[in-house]
Each structure stands twice: as structure tokens, then as C-alpha cells.
């Protein structure tokens, strides 16, 4: 089965096909591969943008960099429908419980991407009022370094999330490691 479509002067790579049995009119493969493929290419991100990283993210969403190319066309501004929480910007300690509530309201499976120095570590804001990294209140899957990161880096981060979505167990939420990690954060 061909992975590429050849057009004159254009080379568009299609999604890699998982291993499976192929015949005329049918293709058989493992269910988790298909589900992973579907999830990976239809992530609905919830942008939790608080400062300049949010502006950089807007550039990433806009036509020039166009996050929609990677299946994240639709931003979800409701945590109930989101798969991916993108935390972009400084999180004040007072905002911590709100961010955590947003995370808790998201349905499994869910992933968290921490964009920029502030969200990942507090950044330059080593002060009494700023949370020193969102991983103090919630688990984080991918960190994007930078102050702020360029849109290319954001895309790289999304692709890393996609790798996780594609390859990890569909029932990650049932694994003892995942449960113990949530317990460590005090999330039920």
C-alpha cells in the first residue's frame, strides 16, 4: 500500500498505514491502531492562554502555520469536549485551582501540553504570586521550552502529543501508573 500520492511537483505524505491484512475491498488491522489513528488526527485542544505564549499560539492556529493541517482544526472552549489542554502563559497561584478544575472537567482520555517557560517552570517569574510550573498541580505530557516558543516549536509539541496518542495504550487511564500519578496530585 502506497504511503504517498504523487502529483506533478508535489509530494503529499499521507498518514502511515498500520500493519494489517489487505485485499480487494477490505483492510484488517488491530482496533487499537485504528482508534489511535483516529484520536491522533482529531485532537480538540482547549487553549488556556494567559499571556504572550497565547499570542504565539494564535499565530500557530492562523493560516500561515495552520495547526488545522494536523487535525486540530476545532478548538474546544469547553473542557467537556476537549482532549488536549494547552496551558500557555504565566499561571498565578490564584489561578491554579481554576486551571485544575478545568483539567478535572475534561473527560478521559486527556493530555496536557505545557507551552513556554512560565507554564513549565514559572519562568522569570520567581515570585510569591506565580505558580512555579503547572506540573505542581497536574500531570503534564509534553513541555515546550521557549519564551515564547516559535510556532514551529508548538507544532513540534503537538506532534509529540500525537505520538503519545497514537502509541500509548487506549486504556491508559486504567493502568496502575496513571492511577498512582493522579493520586499523587490528589485528583480522583
Amino acid at each position: 500500500m502506497s504511503d504517498t500520492i504523487q502529483l506533478p511537483g508535489v509530494n503529499i505524505s499521507a498518514e502511515n498505514t498500520p500493519a494489517g491484512l489487505e485485499g480487494v475491498g477490505f483492510f484488517a488491522t488491530r482496533l487499537d491502531k485504528v482508534v489511535g489513528l483516529a484520536r491522533k488526527n482529531s485532537l480538540w485542544p482547549l487553549p488556556f492562554a494567559t499571556s504572550c505564549c497565547g499570542i504565539e499560539f494564535m499565530a500557530t492556529m492562523a493560516s500561515h502555520y495552520d495547526l488545522a493541517r494536523f487535525g486540530s482544526e476545532r478548538l474546544s472552549f469547553s473542557p467537556r469536549q476537549a482532549d488536549l489542554l494547552m496551558v500557555m502563559g504565566t499561571i498565578a497561584k490564584k489561578m491554579g485551582p481554576i486551571l485544575r478544575q478545568v483539567y478535572e472537567q475534561m473527560a478521559e482520555p486527556k493530555w496536557v501540553l505545557s507551552m513556554g517557560a512560565c507554564a513549565s517552570s514559572g519562568g522569570i517569574f520567581d515570585v510569591y504570586s506565580v505558580l512555579q510550573g503547572i506540573d505542581r498541580i497536574m500531570p503534564v505530557d509534553v513541555y515546550i521550552p521557549g519564551c515564547p516558543p516559535r510556532p514551529e516549536q508548538v507544532l513540534e509539541g503537538i506532534l509529540k502529543i500525537q505520538d503519545l496518542v497514537e502509541n500509548e495504550s487506549l486504556r491508559r487511564r486504567d493502568s496502575p501508573e496513571y492511577k498512582s500519578m493522579l493520586t499523587k496530585y490528589g485528583i480522583e
Binding site: K93, G122, Y128, V130, R136
Partner: protein
């Protein structure tokens, strides 16, 4: 009217009315500044507000002060008033010891002092007696100290990944 004239004019009126309660006056950049005793804060603000000539009817801002080296006058509050008609601006300061951080509220004269006094309480721990709702406004309610006081470090106390050798401390 220049700053010098304004300073003398307001200073004279205040000294005539409040006498010893005006302990000092000076010109700081383009601001006449009066150091007053905290007991007269409310009366003095009301006097400046009601007086038809002075007519300081707008409070631009209010904030806390902390000078750890001033014995028994460590903490203070600064008020900045504006006469919008004449475009006169003055500053009032009052100081008190850190172990007795109380000062009468200005909300009886200026309703806008409400949130500003809450902020001053939040950051300096200054108790405004008579304030209708004195609780933290910007910081989280669980905070146990007053972060703008100079005895507290500015840095977040929960960081454990900082090696002082890399920060020149």
C-alpha cells in the same frame, strides 16, 4: 500657581486647622508632600474635600509604605489627592510602628478607597479601622504573610531546584 506657592498655600491652611498634626512638609519633585499624624487622616481628608477653595475631591491613589530602618515609623500609607478644577495635586503620608499597623479608613470620604485599602492590607498588612470589608483582594486567600513587606523574600519559597552558586548569592 507653581508648586512652591501651592505647597505654602495648602500647608498654611492645614497648619491653621490641624496644627501639630502636620509634622512635616516638603516638595518632592512636583508634589507638595505633607506628613500627618494618623489620628487626623479622616478629618483632614474631609476638610480638603469640603473646603470650597482647596476642593481636593479626587483621590488618585493610595498605597502602603515600608521603611524598615525608621524606628517606630516603619509602616506608612500615602494618599495622593487631586483638585480637578485647578489641577492641583498633593500627597499626604502618615507613618506608624510596625507592631501597631492601624490607620483610620478613608472610605468614609472616598468610596474608591475601598479596594485600594484592601490591596494595601493584602500586601502590607495594614489594618484600616472602619473599613467595611477588609480582606485580601489580589493574592490567594490562603496566603499567610504580606509579600511587599521587606522582611519577606520576593522569590517563591517553594522552589527547590535553585543552586545559589549559579545566582551569585
Amino acid at each position: 500657581m507653581n508648586v512652591q506657592e501651592l505647597s505654602e498655600k495648602v500647608g498654611e491652611r492645614l497648619r491653621n486647622r490641624f496644627g501639630e498634626a502636620i509634622t512635616h512638609s516638603e516638595i518632592h519633585y512636583d508634589f507638595p508632600v505633607y506628613i500627618i499624624k494618623r489620628e487626623v487622616v479622616q478629618d483632614l481628608l474631609l476638610y480638603l474635600y469640603n473646603d470650597t477653595e482647596l476642593s481636593f475631591r479626587f483621590m488618585t491613589t493610595l498605597c502602603g509604605l515600608h521603611y524598615p530602618d525608621q524606628k517606630d515609623r516603619e509602616l506608612g500609607v500615602m494618599y495622593q489627592l487631586h483638585n480637578l478644577g485647578e489641577n492641583w495635586r498633593i500627597r499626604l503620608k502618615t507613618f506608624f510602628p510596625i507592631h501597631d499597623p492601624t490607620v483610620p479608613t478613608a472610605t468614609t470620604v472616598f468610596a474608591s478607597a475601598n479596594w485600594q485599602e484592601r490591596e494595601t492590607y493584602d500586601f502590607y498588612g495594614i489594618q484600616f479601622t472602619g473599613h467595611p470589608d477588609l480582606r485580601r483582594i489580589l493574592n490567594m486567600d490562603e496566603m499567610t504573610y504580606f509579600p511587599m513587606r521587606k522582611e519577606y523574600p520576593l522569590e517563591d519559597g517553594t522552589r527547590d531546584d535553585k543552586n545559589d552558586a549559579f545566582f551569585g548569592r
